[in-house]
Symmetry: C2
Subunit: 551 residues, 2 copies
């Protein structure tokens, strides 16, 4: 491409101008199958697919369901453009009939029904997160985009939720992952779904603008290294907050530096003058939001003294600084040392709030780091988390699958040598049963004709594949898990906003017993089927097993 | 959000309508720093930042540089919209001056110069992939989007290159990762940069349309399970290829089933009739492209016999099927069994090409799987790779950093207790020195005033930090690594298209010695500095070291 023509071509991105992903963002085999279905007159067979996963991520025992709103919008906008059709004509063999391309260009998802668990609900293996019903060729085409929209959203939301559990409710969690995400859109999804999973904010400004997520951030090491000495502070002044009297802020800082050096026991000629200059400039710009990154040179000998110097000068002018950030070193040790110094300053100058200044930590933190910091002890108030959160380093993919379970009212089942991989065929209803204390006891799938369990009555819940595993459950509450979201070409159930989803997610997690949530050897939450469904599955399984096999 | 209003809001995605990412896709601290620079009159200080990484990914010793074109386009389009400014007014404190927002709304990257290694070049730690020079506040704002665009692109391109090295040049490699990528855009980036790294095609149709990548795919398990028996094959016919004579294709298949059952030793009543029906329908749709997924039920007892049945019937009508895909089980064993059967059919019916039918494998394959298959022996011609490729499971983030190295002609350096983390300050020139056989010997960084090494003359190359590591190199070729791509508001160097970049990448990799490329304990490629630059770094280092420290 010549330099001049870089931008001459029309961009066709992953999303249409309304932000919904393009129908063509799919695997080619969905198109070739659509043609084969069409060719054999099977395209309108009534099919049901279940979207589910087989194992919770991160060696945990829960998953947060996220991404549904984007799926519903996909259905609402599902259409192949003229240029899509032209492209497909080039890709498919020349014998493919015009009528097929006509069929594709008229295709919508209006004959499709999408039922799903509410977004922001904790979900478990085997229970469909989404069930989608409609003309075989259409629902087949939806497989790839639906998986794409659910897989990462649910994975990263679950990851965020695990960080929240590790850090505890009283810590502030910020997502800083944009630079390490899978491109621009990956970064935006990460911000959105981490907030849903329980984070408090993001550094990603566009995510703030688009989704109303609180945005946070102060400055980088480069800001500090860009200053060499105090001569670079071009304006020396700051106004006193109450009476706007102009004060020489540099002089004031130097006075405080002297006062503090004996109390904090630092050497004035060992602190970095460039760092002090940077903090002064940052304080002049954000006198009431001063949060300084103090590890560019040496936390104890330079960064912390410089911060205290500027913070006390701000205090004298009536401002209240925020705190500091640590981005390297031993976070347990350093955070406690910092807190000690804050306490010392607070006591020495009778500024009690100084002791409670915020300590942010942000150095390549993962879930295990937080658990380890908890064990060692630390004084961190806020974690800024990037790479490990957004890339889900511990397990970078959730294995959601999309399985055909019924065609024209006849159940379908893919056999597998691995019993865990056998799908649960046919249309199903799913409920979550709760105990008297509001704790989730078990998820239960039934055949469509069956009545849900009655409150206060015992109901036999069976393991889907293991004969001997069964138990009576007496539910105090029975909650249907699936709701129709899209039917007859319309969105028929409200899609809550992100803040509502975030609250919902937190509430949903609270219904889980602690032992399902712990990091080490969590107890699997039980997913069960009714006796009728159990028999149905196993009869069908037997029927599909080749003669002569030892089942 | 109510159901009706789902799509009422204007979408503001990560990219503008021309596909370039938005200026607001950045970390908030870039904006707060911009304000602090502006406030202290430092925003136009002339700054130089280097973008580089410190360690190659995947425990390897090379990285493929990718993502440059998107960076150049970012600069070309870098602008804050009115609605961005309105949003920033809400986010920043109320005291922030109107003049600052005016400054932001007039901001462009026209005063920025971007130099870079050519995209599609193999690169190494510490050598800047991109050097960007311009007004401090502007180049600081570019940090996050540049890192976002380079990090994943280079990581996944490198991963693809490693899969190519593992599989060998004669295998076909297809990228199947869309459903497991970080959302739609992540999937598209994966397809684009895997192709650059040496893959032959993708399943991602939109990537095919946008970037001209060959798209590949046949059918899924659902296609097979959607058929129960031969009665579902609504049209029985297929036309003979040469004379278009209509033939009952089902009958023909059943004849071939009988013929083959004795030769291949399978039981007609043990093959799945639904699977046979599915293969027949697929063959009717794609008689010259028939590639069947044969592991839905049982590869040996059902899938393979059914494929051979339909394939020989197609052959009788003058068509040539493509082959089979295996998506589960022991790929080494199964691929060899399949090849044996292909050979047997080829010999029994004198159809020599049958032996060379394509065997595709696609079951959760990673780099180690391919190495293990190579060791065990296999007969796979083509690998379809998804999750592990696009999520880069082995290491899901490349740690690119963006470091300030110079302000107003004065070098800058962030100290670190970890010597490997010390940055190389100041403006630098970089060259790659080659030997007589075209092998890359060493990368060499010089001070701007220094002349590059002369051909055939010895030049002392020094390790950037370790005193004792040095060697004379006599280059047969000296290649400048950096070129200006963006200057004075214009793209000034051609941006090759994806196919050219793919060729370039493959050539660049060929210049590396085999021991740098091997999987187990690869030899690190040497990155060096001139004696002058070495002295410069170490003098500056000493100068920045606090008094009283044992360096």
């Amino acid at each position: 491409m010549s330099a001049a023509s870089v931008l001459s071509s029309v961009y066709e991105g992953t999303r249409e101008s309304n932000g919904v992903i393009q129908a063509l963002l799919t695997d080619l085999y969905q198109i070739t199958m659509a043609y084969a279905y069409w060719k054999s007159g099977k395209m309108d067979d009534r099919a049901i697919f279940d979207l589910f996963f087989r194992r919770n991520p991160f060696q945990g025992e829960f998953t947060l369901f996220a991404g549904l709103e984007e799926c519903v919008k996909l259905l609402q906008n599902f259409r192949f453009s003229e240029s899509d059709i032209s492209y497909l004509r080039k890709v498919l063999p020349p014998h493919v009939e015009d009528e097929f391309f006509q069929y594709l260009s008229n295709m919508t998802a209006n004959a499709v029904t999408l039922s799903a668990v509410d977004e922001g609900t904790v979900v478990f293996p085997k229970v469909p997160m989404i069930t989608i019903e409609g003309p075989l060729a259409v629902v087949q085409l939806l497989e790839t985009p639906l998986l794409n929209l659910i897989n990462y959203a649910s994975l990263v939301a679950t990851n965020a939720m695990r960080f929240r559990l590790a850090a505890g409710q009283d810590k502030v969690l910020l997502e800083f992952g944009l630079r390490r995400a899978q491109g621009p859109d990956g970064g935006l999804s990460a911000s959105r779904y981490c907030y849903m999973g329980g984070f408090d904010g993001t550094s990603n400004v566009l995510a703030g603008k688009m989704f109303g997520i609180p945005v946070k951030g102060t400055h980088a090491h480069a800001f500090v290294t860009s200053y060499r000495d105090l001569r670079e502070v071009k304006c020396r002044n700051l106004f006193r907050k109450d009476n706007l009297e102009k004060v020489d802020f540099i002089d004031l800082c130097l006075v405080w530096q002297q006062k503090l050096s004996s109390i904090l026991n630092f050497l004035v000629d060992q602190v970095s003058e460039g760092e002090l200059a940077a903090f002064i400039c940052y304080a002049q710009a954000f006198p009431d939001q001063m949060l300084a990154l103090i590890d560019t040179y040496d936390v104890i000998k330079s960064g912390l003294p410089n911060f205290c110097t500027v913070a006390m000068a701000l205090h004298e002018l009536g401002y209240k600084p925020r705190g500091i950030r640590l981005d390297s070193g031993d976070l347990s040790y350093l955070s406690r040392e910092v807190r000690k110094v804050f306490k010392l300053v607070a006591n020495s100058f009778d500024v009690p709030w100084f002791e409670r200044l915020t300590i942010v930590a942000s150095n390549d933190i993962n879930e295990d780091t937080i658990h380890s910091l908890n064990t060692q002890g630390h004084d961190i108030d806020c974690f800024g988390i990037g790479t490990h959160l957004v890339t889900c380093q511990k397990q970078p993919a959730l294995g959601c699958v999309f399985k055909l379970v019924e065609v024209n009212d006849k159940p379908r089942m893919k056999l597998s040598e691995d019993v865990e991989k056998v799908t649960i065929p046919g249309r199903k209803k799913a409920y979550r049963l709760y105990g008297h204390d509001g704790t989730a006891l078990v998820d239960l799938m039934l055949q469509p004709s069956e009545d849900p369990p009655s409150l206060g009555q015992r109901f036999l819940c069976r393991h889907p594949t293991m004969e001997s595993k069964r138990a009576y459950v007496v539910p105090a509450e029975v909650q249907p898990l699936h709701h129709e979201y899209w039917k007859n070409g319309e969105v028929i159930r409200d899609l809550p906003n992100l803040t509502e989803l975030r609250k919902k997610a937190s509430k949903s997690l609270q219904t889980l017993r602690q032992d399902h949530k712990r990091t080490l050897n969590p107890t699997p939450y039980k997913v069960s089927v009714s006796s009728n469904l159990y028999t149905f599955i196993h009869d069908l399984w037997l029927e599909s097993t080749p003669i002569g096999e030892l089942c």
